[in-house]
């Protein structure tokens, strides 16, 4: 999976599930766990941008694999368009691995669209243990229909990338 030389390998014992007699506990170690961070927000024509940050656990890295968005028009509660442009920044490296991406490109409003074709990319991006990442949505200066929207950042908590469980420099 994702390798990064900044994180030395295998320095942290992996959580191990209890096993029945005769089983090799190593076979049942849990080294990854799928997880989703979400953000419920309100599209706006007046705010130039809105932001949301997430803190990653100290015990694991979080590897981002998929990003989805969708909106419901408040008056009808049916899905609608989602204006705006998304930037996602790793706060530890200050690297923005998504920059000004039109939300329409990852909008999952379609009733049958296989969203994995739209927004799952083959090289996932790891956020270091104890680090944080920020989503920034910039709105165009146009009329926005009153709606309630969600952004989800999917991926997995990864216990195998060698974080030590100790404080990292960027945790100070």
């Amino acid at each position: 999976m994702v390798q990064n030389s900044r994180w030395p390998q295998d320095r942290m014992p992996r959580p191990v599930m209890s096993s029945t007699a005769g089983e090799d506990p190593a076979l049942r170690s849990l080294d990854k766990a799928q997880y989703v961070y979400s953000w419920q927000f309100t599209p706006s024509a007046t705010a130039s941008q809105i932001t949301k940050s997430w803190q990653v656990d100290k015990t694991n890295n979080f590897v981002i694999s998929t990003i989805n968005a969708m909106a419901f028009v408040d008056s009808t509660q049916v899905t609608g368009g989602l204006p705006g442009f998304l930037t996602v920044r790793d706060n530890q490296t200050q690297y923005s691995f998504i920059e000004d991406l039109a939300l329409g490109l990852i909008n999952t409003n379609s009733s049958t669209g296989p969203k994995y074709l739209r927004s799952m990319w083959p090289i996932a991006y790891p956020i270091g243990a104890g680090g944080s990442f920020t989503a920034i949505i910039r709105f165009p200066a146009s009329t926005v229909v009153a709606s309630t929207a969600w952004l989800t950042i999917d991926g997995w908590k990864d216990y195998t990338l060698g974080n030590t469980g100790e404080d990292q420099p960027w945790m100070a």
Partner: protein
């Protein structure tokens, strides 16, 4: 091989630890020391059903629950999630329902999503399921608790909902 099967294979090729389990199963010994005990993998789907769920305002954040007891003799690896939500009165499929969900299990006690999120953003729809890039492991003898939130107060619409967790039973 259709597109979906090809995509499933792609997921498994990226699932390093899944292959580690399979490979280990070919070489490890039983508790008695011999003979070799291969791991058996069987396709399976667990499901949860909700019927006649009344709408509650989004801000109230009130859901209803269903639970799934997994088999006691095998682990379960979730590789995809799917959902179908219906209008209870007409039995018509609601392709993008104004409703949310979340689930957790009594082993990890960690919700899949950090907060309830729209069904359509996280499950796909019927024949277009949401594929987990990193499959989620549910240990044997675990209870999966699914919570469903019908937020469709415009109407309002009483909803029926079905959730499916597709994947593999792993026998050790």
């Amino acid at each position: 091989m259709n597109v979906m099967q090809r995509r499933m294979l792609d997921v498994f090729e990226q699932r390093q630890s899944f292959y580690e389990v399979l490979l280990a199963g070919k070489t490890r010994k039983s508790s008695a020391g011999a003979p070799l005990k291969p791991i058996k993998v069987m396709s399976y789907t667990y499901s949860a059903q909700f019927t006649g769920v009344a709408a509650v305002a989004l801000a109230t954040n009130q859901g209803v629950q269903d639970s799934i007891d997994t088999a006691g003799n095998c682990d379960f690896l979730i590789t995809y999630m799917s959902a179908a939500v219906f209008n209870n009165a007409t039995q018509a499929l609601i392709s993008t329902p104004y409703s949310r969900w979340n689930f957790t299990d009594n082993w990890s006690q960690t919700p899949m999503f950090d907060a309830p999120i729209p069904v359509s953003i996280s499950t796909g729809n019927g024949g277009f399921p949401y594929l987990l890039q990193d499959p989620k492991l549910i240990p044997a003898n675990t209870t999966i608790i699914v919570t469903f939130y019908n937020d469709s107060t415009v109407g309002p619409i009483v909803q029926d909902a079905n959730f499916a967790f597709g994947g593999y039973k792993i026998y050790y």
